[in-house]
């Protein structure tokens, strides 16, 4: 090929120059980052791992939606920063009889649209939630049959069986109060797109899958929040959300994993905040079949685990050991109960006693989200000769099998987490212990009896005793491998002052920004 066919050097530069010019034009047009630095002094920006699915508080059950909605709506009861149950929209409450709870409402509370928040609104909200046509995924109020207005500031909730922890359940989204007039006038869809509540922030805008903006409610009954504007930014990729924190586009990153927190390290300008969580993790054992039928084997497996080592090496310390399934903050937790000690010799002798001195093979399933922990557990159990085959499932498949009617769908052992958001041990035990519950794989009439006792009585002292006995049984019978309660990790900019809460939702009413 001769040189004459080729474009000259100048031609090449011309073409190349065009490309370069276009690229630099793009760069020039964008030298001002629009990450919201303009009004950064008054605005708090929080990252969310996913968008809210809907802003109708009765139709959601996912953490991102809850994080947004907890700032727009109020519940009848709330947890204070010390996790104590205190009044929200209800000032006080009492149990009238076994199946009636009476709530006395706070006066002069109005919704963001001016509508009064009274007993009629509470009754409407409860009825709306339990109406099957609402298709609510909120299940806490399953025993509630209805609500009765006594006077404008008093309302009774009726249950079909005694529900001793109903007031605690109402601190969750089952206890959210929505505006009847607004919903009737505008319809469900409009309400879900432009929610109106009584909460510390009013809704301003929602760009789907990108951001949700809220404004301080100047008439909030508990005092106007100090933050003028609260923005939730949807950032599904954990590394990008940390990059956004470092580049000053967000102030708080949620849903941090321990390794991401470590990666962030000691960089200036922000810190990693660890808040004790109530989600407990454990391994469910199939006590009805195979070697795990033998209680000595189950005890041996518990002795073989070195939970403290798991916490320090896999979770970088972001967890606290739990003796059974109940987190330390929950009502019913018995501090006298000690965790099963790590003791390899004891584990081996128990296995030998049960006729398994050569060990055995077993499957351990988990969601891919927990792969590091289950692999470490498999490694620890190998030390006493148990050959663990780890099966990792995508989170949705894992959950599908967990709640399916087939209790063996996840195999002989599976690793699972469970949030007892009511802060009452009842929630931690309800699905896993009584033999007829959906995730139970243990049949023990004595334990069933104790569950009935704590679930059906409103006498807290009696319930406390039942929980104490249950925890002793859980240690002795070892139908699970007990692990830890995980802490919640946030990366927070130094300009934010904010107290976290144990259930992990991002209530921002009392957060402050330092003006530096």
């Amino acid at each position: 090929m001769s040189d004459r066919v080729l474009p000259t050097r100048r031609d090449v530069f011309r073409i190349g120059g065009l490309a370069a010019a276009t690229v630099s034009l793009g760069a020039c047009a964008s030298t001002k980052p629009s990450g919201g630095q303009a009004d950064a002094s008054a605005a708090l920006r929080v990252s969310l791992a996913a968008d809210a699915t809907t802003l109708d508080p009765h139709k959601q059950g996912d953490l991102p939606s809850m994080n947004v909605l907890i700032n727009i709506f109020d519940t009848l009861t709330v947890r204070d920063t010390a996790d104590k149950l205190v009044g929200g929209l209800a000032e006080r409450w009492e149990s009238k009889d076994d199946t009636t709870w009476r709530f006395h409402l706070r006066k002069n509370v109005t919704f963001h649209n001016g509508e009064p928040c009274d007993a009629a609104a509470v009754a409407y909200s409860i009825e709306r939630l339990i109406d099957p046509d609402t298709r609510s995924p909120i299940v806490e109020l399953r025993l509630v049959t209805g609500a009765k207005v006594i006077d404008p500031h008093t309302v009774d909730l009726l249950t079909k069986e005694p529900d001793p922890i109903l007031p605690a359940k109402l601190s969750l989204f089952g206890g959210v109060i929505v505006p009847p007039g607004y919903i009737k006038e505008k319809g469900d869809q409009a309400f879900a797109e432009h929610p109106v509540g009584t909460g510390p922030f009013t809704f301003e805008g929602w760009q789907r899958d990108s951001q949700i903006t809220l404004k301080a409610n100047p008439k909030y009954w508990n005092g106007k929040p100090t933050i003028e504007r609260l923005t939730f930014k949807v950032m599904p990729d954990p590394s990008s959300s940390l990059a956004a924190l470092q580049s000053g586009e967000v102030d708080i990153v949620t849903g941090l994993t321990p390794d991401a927190a470590e990666q962030l390290g000691q960089a200036p300008g922000f810190k990693v905040v660890t808040s004790p969580g109530v989600r407990t993790y454990f391994v469910s054992l199939d006590t009805e079949e195979g070697p795990l039928k033998d209680k000595r084997v189950r005890q041996a497996l518990n002795h073989a685990l070195d939970v403290d080592a798991l916490i320090t090496s896999v979770l970088n310390g972001a967890a606290e050991r739990t003796p059974t399934l109940i987190p330390r903050q929950a009502f019913g937790f018995d501090p006298a109960i000690q965790p099963i000690p790590h003791d390899l010799a004891k584990a081996k002798s128990l296995l030998a006693e049960a006729g398994h001195d050569g060990g055995f093979a077993v499957k351990l399933s988990s969601s891919t989200a927990d792969k590091d922990v289950v692999q470490a557990i498999a490694g620890q159990l190998a030390q006493v000769g148990i050959k663990v085959e780890v099966e990792l499932l995508d989170p949705a498949t894992f959950k599908g099998r967990l709640v399916s009617d087939n209790r063996k769908a996840l195999g002989a052992m599976y690793f699972v987490g469970n949030s007892g958001w009511t802060m009452d041990a009842s929630s931690n035990l309800q699905s896993f212990v009584r033999h007829d519950r959906r995730q139970s794989r243990w049949n023990n009439p004595k334990a069933d009896e104790l569950i009935d006792k704590e679930e059906q009585s409103v006498d807290q002292e009696m319930r406390g005793q039942a929980f104490g006995e249950l925890q002793k049984m859980l240690i002795d019978e070892a139908p699970f491998l007990y692990l830890y309660q995980a802490s919640i990790l946030y990366a927070v900019s130094d300009r934010v002052q904010w107290k976290t809460n144990a259930n992990g939702t991002l209530a921002m009413a009392t957060a402050r920004l330092t003006t530096s």
Partner: protein, 305 residues
């Protein structure tokens, strides 16, 4: 020509019908949205009640027939999680997806065409080798890594551009580059090899012999004849860019169709999964149709076959 167009349109409709049918049944093998919606502590009765109120307890064939009849009036059903019509949700994401696809395609062409031409005309030289080496790197680097790298450089260190999100043209720059890089590399390679073939043809020698300059020979004779395979690939790339760039959208928190698809799958939201699958299929077959038709315009021989 009309017969040709009619036949192609007929094919397109048939493909869409098959996709709608297959996706309807396949999503139902993937798991159950009711199980994803409810917390694990829900009772069996609560689960059954929710399933019934969503209509998922009806016989499968029954559900299929109402789905297909709905499609005729563009009714894709109501998303289970978002409590809104699935079609409306897709339409809402579409403009952002188009923005990103157009910007990425612009970047692709701006980079690929000069790179391909330079490499072809300087074939065998150090310039060719270095262009092709960069192209190879571009093609083999995964989008999530490029994305994070660009964020670290331009957002975290230099603070020139926002790290993620949408809102201004500046938000578009990094995702467009990330997304366009792979196609740019691929198209540059393709253009180079196609142009090398063409430049060896007799008519190029004729053009040179009649005294055309190097640039004009390449531009009007070389490029035009080398364009055909490139147009096909550009067309298909537009299809895949519109179909959503799942990784890029994830890294840059770009609320497009790709992320919507992932969300639909994560939640096992049947109506939304069906709608996104059908939408992606529609984009591909329509782009294919346009490419086929444009072939017929570019190359008269195609119409005859």
């Amino acid at each position: 020509m009309i017969r040709f167009v009619g036949k192609r349109v007929g094919h397109t409709l048939l493909v869409l019908f098959c996709v709608a049918t297959v996706s309807f049944f396949i999503v139902r093998l993937a798991g159950d949205p009711v199980q994803q919606m409810l917390p694990p502590e829900a009772t069996a009765e609560q689960e059954a009640a929710l399933r019934a109120s969503l209509g998922f307890d009806r016989p499968l064939l029954d559900q299929y027939v109402s789905y297909m009849t709905g499609l005729l009036s563009l009714d894709f059903g109501q998303s289970v999680f978002f409590h809104r019509p699935a079609f409306e949700i897709i339409l809402e994401r579409l403009p952002l997806t188009i923005d990103l696809a157009v910007a990425a395609m612009a970047f692709t062409l701006i980079v690929a065409i000069p790179a391909g031409i330079i490499a072809a005309v300087r074939r065998g030289t150090a310039t060719d080798t270095s262009v092709m080496a960069s192209v190879l790197v571009g093609q083999s680097t995964p989008a999530f890594w490029v994305g994070i790298l660009l964020i670290l450089i331009f957002a975290v260190n230099l603070r020139w551009l926002p790290a993620s999100g949408v809102g201004s043209p500046a938000h578009l720059v990094l995702p467009a580059i990330t997304l366009g890089l792979y196609s740019a590399a691929m198209i540059a390679r393709l253009l180079r090899s196609s142009l090398i073939d063409v430049l060896g043809e007799d008519y190029i020698r004729t053009a040179r012999a009649k005294g055309l300059s190097g640039v004009r020979t390449v531009a009007s004779h070389g490029l035009r004849n080398a364009a055909l395979p490139v147009v096909t690939v550009v067309g298909l790339e537009v299809g895949s860019l519109l179909g959503g760039a799942i990784l890029t959208e994830q890294v840059f928190s770009w609320p497009g169709i790709g992320r919507l698809t992932v969300e639909a799958i994560t939640y096992r939201d049947y109506p939304l999964m069906q709608a996104t699958v059908l939408f992606l299929a529609a984009v591909f077959v329509i782009v294919n149709l346009i490419v086929d038709l444009s072939y017929a315009l570019l190359d008269p021989r195609v119409r005859l076959t």
